[in-house]
């Protein structure tokens, strides 16, 4: 075939036809793309409108984290009403997953007034997230009282997605802490500098102390498939655990029955100090996750959380023991006043 024949042939005609269609399509789409492209600002405005139900003017606010259970991703002040819109990612979801939410924090007379709206933005690995409905979200709405923290087990309907609900509550609590901090009301976490707090929900943990002993009301975080445990641990002034009781069993899907019986009734910890508790996991200073030990009972994650709670109590009791005031102290105080 000569060059002339090729240019007169059917193949050339086909190539030209196809190229022309492609070229015209390409030019058309390029023009349309420049005319119809949606900017990032437009997308952001749409997201805000979806949450707010109307278009509002916003002003970005610098983010900071005041709560270890969640991360503040973005925050905006709504110029129209002074409320804050916070995007927070709550930890502690199913299988250590997270849920990211947009939270509208109502502001009333220069302080946090409550939660106006919570909208789920995205999640990681939360297969039951669709169980979270408007009725659950309604549990967040209402007036805020100082120091209030949301807990999925109190004031919310049961959804069947407890772990995802926990992550959402963590996100909302973090948003509240963040906005509170913006108004100068930084919530002090007294357990922040304690040891072995990785799996301890320090915001929901409390203690009662005397000169002789400290009783911790510990709330753990979820770990893997195990949800939060509530455990009361009493440690005497010598650092020995004298009482250990699980008040809320966080084992899920019936795994509770597989827990180590001595952990479940607390006898494994009573009479032990920190060294003894760490000895359960092999004696290292780090709280290593047990592998190949007699703690691997089929509910290892639950066992691990319980050991973590015992280690937390035994390691930190000392700083919370009440110190008896001596007459010398009073005298010194008196002298200062003079």
């Amino acid at each position: 075939m000569t060059v002339k024949e090729f240019f007169k042939g059917k193949a050339f005609k086909c190539i030209i036809a196809l190229l022309c269609v492609l070229l015209i399509s390409g030019i058309f789409l390029t023009i349309m793309n420049s005319l119809l492209a949606v900017t990032d600002q437009e997308r952001f405005d749409r997201a805000i409108k979806k949450i707010y139900g109307k278009a509002v003017k916003t002003e970005a606010v610098a983010v900071a984290d005041y709560n270890s259970n969640a991360t503040i991703e973005e925050a905006y002040k709504i110029k129209d009403d002074g409320n804050y819109l916070v995007k927070a990612t709550g930890k502690g979801g199913f299988d250590n997953g997270t849920v990211t939410c947009w939270i509208v924090v109502k502001v009333n007379k220069g302080a946090v007034g409550g939660i106006e709206k919570v909208v789920i933005d995205s999640n990681s690995g939360q297969s039951y997230i669709s169980y979270i409905n408007d009725k659950f979200m309604a549990g967040f709405y209402g007036d805020y009282t100082a120091g209030q923290y949301f807990n999925p087990n109190e004031g919310f309907i049961k959804t069947g997605a407890t772990r995802s609900a926990t992550a959402i509550c963590n996100a909302v609590n973090a948003a509240l802490d963040y906005v509170n901090a913006l108004f100068g009301n930084v919530t002090v976490d007294i357990y922040e500098d304690c040891s072995y707090i990785e799996n301890i929900d320090t915001r929901n943990t409390s203690h009662e102390a005397t000169e002789e002993q400290v009783t911790f009301h510990i709330k753990t975080k979820g770990y893997g498939n195990a949800a939060e445990f509530s455990i009361d641990v009493t440690v005497d002034k010598n650092g020995v655990i004298t009482a250990y009781a699980i008040t809320t069993d966080g084992s899920t899907a019936g795994y509770g029955k597989n827990m180590h019986p001595a952990i479940k009734d607390g006898t494994m910890f009573v009479g032990k100090n920190l060294e003894g508790v760490l000895g359960i996991l092999g004696g290292g200073v780090d709280l290593d996750y047990p592998s190949g030990s007699d703690i691997n009972t089929g509910a290892t994650q639950s066992n691990y959380l319980c050991i973590n709670a015992a280690a937390f109590a035994a390691a930190n009791y000392e700083q919370f023991l009440t110190v008896e005031e001596t007459p010398d102290d009073n005298e010194e105080g008196g002298n200062e006043n003079e």
Binding site: A17, L18, S25, L29, M32, L36, V38
Partner: protein, 215 residues
């Protein structure tokens, strides 16, 4: 019968792409759990089908036979991309509700089928009417099924809650499949009924004419 009337009736009823030809089942089953989404999908297909029919009919003498299918695909893909841009810009809610099914219109059998079976053999006006008729047939079918599925599956209509009683399965593709089958059966039964009546009427007329001639 007027040819435009015939094209219209074929697209709407006798060769309805959804109920008679069972084409475009992927978006049908995926979207009919919501009346809003199914109507949106139907209208989007109507516009793309009409435009693709018109463009292909216009170019039918310029596009060589050997490359007609690639050319049709490029034209349809261009129109679908344009539709996506348009919906994303002006109707973001619909764009989100259609999701991946919007891009899948490129491989929708109805559009490529009408291009190959009709538009490349007929005039621009006829192709436009065929596109509108088939698009309307698809839209009406999807919307009717969407209304049924949303009403019984979610207890709502176009997003507005109407009743608390609901059959959850009907809001899912499995339920949509069931509704789709029932709708096809009812549609074919009605069309058959009309056809029978028409035949009986025609036979009666022919008998009367024969009797008249014999007399």
């Amino acid at each position: 019968m007027n040819k435009y009337k015939k094209i219209t009736l074929d697209g709407l009823i006798y060769q309805n792409p959804t109920f008679m030809l069972v084409l475009g089942t992927c978006p049908t089953l995926g979207l009919i759990s919501s009346a809003f989404s199914s109507m949106g999908m139907g209208l989007t297909v109507l516009v793309i089908l009409t435009l693709s029919n018109v463009i292909i009919s216009l170019l039918r003498k310029l596009i060589p036979d050997a490359v007609r299918i690639p050319c049709y695909i490029v034209i349809i893909a261009t129109l679908v991309t344009f539709a996506r841009m348009f919906l994303d810009k002006f109707l973001p809610d619909l764009y989100e509700s259609l999701g991946g099914f919007l891009a899948l219109i490129v491989v929708n059998c109805i559009i490529l089928g009408r291009a190959e079976a009709f538009a490349n053999k007929h005039t621009v006006a006829e192709s436009a009417v065929d596109g509108i008729a088939n698009g309307l047939g698809f839209t009406v079918a999807l919307t009717v099924m969407g209304i049924i599925c949303e009403f019984f599956g979610k207890g709502s209509l176009f997003g507005y809650e109407i009743m608390t009683f609901k059959i959850g399965m009907l809001a899912k593709p499995a339920g949509a499949f069931l509704v789709y089958g029932i709708c096809i059966a009812v549609f074919v039964y009605i069309i058959d009924g009309f056809e029978r009546m028409r035949r009986v009427k025609a036979n009666k007329l022919a008998r009367e004419n024969l009797l008249k001639e014999a007399a």
